[in-house]
Symmetry: C3
Subunit: 324 residues, 3 copies
């Protein structure tokens, strides 16, 4: 199926963006200020950009309050999604008491456990394993090879990427007479409407209560969410973030790639954590927090790092009192 080719005028009409000029050929967009200097030399026939950049645009432009959001809407017109038809693939293994909506799709090599409910329009891609007592809300999409271990409840329109594991046992261990004793994880996982869960991301189920993602939470790939964590609505976490058990993260937070959040603490709403930083104490004020240094020439870094190891002694020599 060839992609549809709306004209710029059609796009503009559809989006009611202020159309400065119309043209043919390729459409570019300028959403990241880093690329502003590339505007003058663009070969695009038209550019979607912010008001402030319009004057510098040598070709026709579409002015948008948020060029990136405008791009998202335009790109959606060109997106082709694999066709999925309602029904259960012949190879799928479905428990007798699972309730699968006739409008849902269950792909090949998927298995659905006891007492599960799969909602209208939900798509369970190939190779998904859904354990007992799970709910997949209407319009959810589990792309492929997703595992919902047990007691996982997905709201509406949740999108889960391949390899994600939701509802595995948390890392609950008690040391007992020199051996680890497994702490059973009796809770589940609740995922709110419109959440997205990246490839190979893991969200453990709760020990007694549930692990909770409120609505519109967005997790990138390879993220780890421990048991009994709560993540507030609209919070986004980039790849390889790790959140330890029982942490409570607020709404509209942004967590940079590879950052870590310790367990049993709270982060308030609208907090940004920069990439690879480590949060070890509760954060009660919105704002940006950091602890990861940027790479420098390794020889110079090593000299500085060696001094860091003397830093307290150095400061004492200066007569500075040891306080934080």
């Amino acid at each position: 199926m060839p992609a549809p080719s709306p004209t710029l005028a059609e796009l503009a009409a559809r989006f009611t963006l202020g159309l400065r000029a119309a043209g043919e050929g390729q459409l570019a967009f300028l959403a990241n200020p880093r690329y502003r200097q590339e505007l003058a030399g663009t070969g695009a026939s038209a550019v979607v950009l912010a008001e402030a950049d319009a004057a510098d645009c040598p070709v026709p432009c579409l002015v948008a309050a948020s060029p990136y959001a405008a791009f998202a809407r335009i790109a959606a017109l060109f997106e082709t999604r694999p066709a999925t038809t309602p029904g259960v693939h012949a190879s799928a293994v479905v428990a007798g008491d699972a309730d699968i909506h006739p409008g849902a799709h269950v792909g090949p090599f998927s298995s659905i456990g006891a007492r599960c409910r799969i909602g209208a329009g939900a798509v369970i891609g190939p190779g998904c394993i859904i354990g007992d007592d799970c709910v997949v809300g209407p319009g959810c999409e589990l792309l492929a090879r997703v595992t919902l271990v047990t007691r996982v409840r997905l709201g509406a329109r949740v999108r889960v990427h391949p390899g994600a594991v939701i509802g595995a046992e948390g890392f609950g261990l008690a040391m007992d007479a020199g051996q680890w004793l497994k702490v059973p994880q009796l809770g589940g996982v609740q995922v709110g409407d419109d959440c997205e869960i990246g490839a190979n991301t893991c969200i453990d189920r709760g020990a007694l209560d549930d692990t909770v993602l409120e609505e519109d939470v967005r997790l990138d790939n390879l993220v780890q969410v421990g048991h009994n964590v709560r993540i507030g609505a609209h919070t986004a976490m980039a790849g390889c973030v790790a959140v330890a058990g029982s942490a409570r993260i607020g709404r509209y937070c942004l967590v940079g790639g590879g950052a870590g959040i310790a367990g049993h603490l709270s982060v308030c709403d609208r907090v940004t954590i920069t990439a690879m930083s480590l949060v070890t104490a509760s954060i009660t004020e919105p704002g940006e927090y950091a602890s990861a240094m940027a790479a420098q020439d390794a020889r110079r870094f090593r000299r500085n790092a060696a001094r860091f190891r003397q830093l307290d002694a150095l400061a004492r020599r200066m007569g500075t009192p040891p306080k934080d």
Copy 2:
């Protein structure tokens, strides 16, 4: 099946914990001192706690030497496990010379390679791929979508969570005339009794000898263990830890989430590494080791980090000799 409902008296009898009083309704537990101040206002009918907290408990309590271990044993009474019946699912693909104990369970869409042995009571969940020459000991549980690539030997009662990959080729590469040359990985992986391996965790097989986990090793989700690593008994690693090739980790070590351990070094017994710290040299004394700083306000952090980049120069100005 409804969960069983033992009374507190029954629990106490079973655990021979010192029963101070009995009651009805919900049972709470106090294992983490962070939550001590919540004790006074608890709505629970009874609390499992340590001797030291008993006096402050406004409701009946169960005193345990280790409240968390007591909780683990109590919670196990309420755990429901999916019923698995012995036998091989009709859809599974099993090599002719694989030896599967009649008391083992092999789920749908699983494949078992040549010369494998699956022990009594072992559960191979749906979607598991077990390559050639693997051994799964008695009572092991591979929950779902686990891959044992080749030459993986699991002891008894090993628990492997979904998405884990054990026995993949290590990252063995030799640069040769401007191209990478693959170093074949001829070893396997030995996993001791009672180990647990988290979701999407990877353990590479050895180059010549085996990669080894001694008994009762506990790895959380998304952990990476390189080829020829040896991890001592009872060591636990939290999510997203990475251990590079040929590192030797002792017994009863605790490694915090996101920490890294460089290759070709030794860490002795009873070492704790804090979250996101990096071990680059052998550790020969038990104790706690750290290198990851805690996040602070980003503007202040950036000013401090800029100074870090001048730190050696700063120290020289003070006349401090450059030594570590």
Copy 3:
């Protein structure tokens, strides 16, 4: 099948290494200088080593320009690979218009989408899910449980380990009226000849253009590569590295385990990033870069880290101007 047993003389002849002496029994190799002191006490019958170490070798040795590369070639003689026969397993689900070379192998529980092409000698292991419009070049090996989501083009001889997810949607999100708006990812992923992609590694597809790995790129396990990243030929990344969207990495770079590279920047050829370091700005000079400190005794570390938080104030007290 027993492994073949070439004699040392045969090995030497085959490799045209300078043979100093021949022997029987086990062959060792000395490639890492860390192990040099073990040479004197070796129980091996022969050792592969570099010219400089030959004089100290108490047993016969094979001198190689690169002992590790020599080992790789020798080990390959002993490697047994699972036999795969051309053809499509009866359980596999293949789209009617997929073009599968008669010399390719497609294993059980694999699914291949519309318009895919699978080349000569390619091996698609068990449980692989290949979405629409993918190309798997000749001689590729997808070991097991690999997902190619859509529009992924693998060159020749690409090796992909279990659990890897290539071509998932990038983390493209635009904030729009308080909700996240999904940015469609219309591009694909191009992977050059002879690349290797580790277990549970994720490579997202591009937003408009493709995400690109040039030839002979080697990614270890649990690596995250964001959308529209470009990685130059012969670059190797160790486990748990994360590369954010639109970063451009040069050729012959080495990235240590757990390192992070921010988005929208460039790293030139022949750059080494040490383990767990964070690159936040473009690098234009070859060399080694670092930002991750090594663990020390935790009490001492905490005292130093507390001083770090005063570092700018400390430097000001010394009258140092605040510049980087």
